[in-house]
């Protein structure tokens, strides 16, 4: 399964909806999308991984890289995820303390 990305705006946030597999092969495409958004001045991002089937450490690295970029502009990068198989990876790596992880895009927006 390939990686699909789509972007939309909600309130003051750019929501990146990701589906498919984020791995060592596909993660560069997500990185490019995040870099492009930040370069266009979008510094409050929400990455929705509800339709992601697989996420590895390369994907996590891309998300952390995105977080660093937006924070350098006083922005934010939140994650929307409810799947245990993905949340486990965030827990193992300690990234649950780094990202805001929410059940829905609305909840992520409301947290700000």
């Amino acid at each position: 399964m390939d990686l699909s990305l789509s972007t939309r705006s909600q309130d003051d946030f750019e929501v990146i909806e990701v589906s498919g597999e984020i791995d060592v092969y596909t993660a560069p495409r997500l990185r490019e999308a995040l870099v492009e958004l930040v370069s266009k001045g979008h510094h409050n991002l929400i990455v929705d991984v509800e339709r992601v089937e697989f996420l590895d450490s390369t994907g996590l690295g891309v998300l952390v890289g995105g977080l660093k970029r937006v924070r350098s502009h006083d922005g934010s990068l939140d994650i929307v995820c409810t799947h245990d198989r993905l949340l486990k990876i965030f827990r193992i790596t300690g990234l649950t303390k780094v990202f805001g992880i929410f059940d829905s895009v609305d909840a992520a927006v409301a947290s700000h």
Binding site: V24, Y25, F54, D56, S57, D84, K88, I89, I92, T93
Partner: protein
Amino acid sequence: MPRTDAPASAVNLCLAADLANVRLARLVSVAVGRLHGIDGPMLDDVRLAVGEACGRAVLIHNDNALPAPVVIDIDGSAEEFSVTVTSQEPVDVEQRRLEVRGSRVEVTANGGLAIPETFALLGGLADEVDVRSDASGTTVQMRWRLPPPAD
């Protein structure tokens, strides 16, 4: 639930060091895992751990322009399931250090590697992770203990 008639099978994959092949290694490992009755969260762990280990091996082969394939051995019995990923990067054992994409890995006296952050995720996914290195490369073996079959 583990199958009592699970085959004492061994599958050997020799994959070109192409990042696209990491997914193939994941798919085959999951398929063989299912033959051994693995499902649910443990199967997710196998999928992710194999992806991590193979991805690391492929990246190292690419970085070193190694033409040799990355080798994945998948094996199992009624009690245990294991996946071993072997990369063939040059390791200067005399220096007792190995640089893996910026992460320093300590080579221990017996040829094993101390678990660095690179392998921290693997340690959380498999029941046992054994990383060994010698002059011919590095072997990452991941093992999962299978629960006894139900009566």
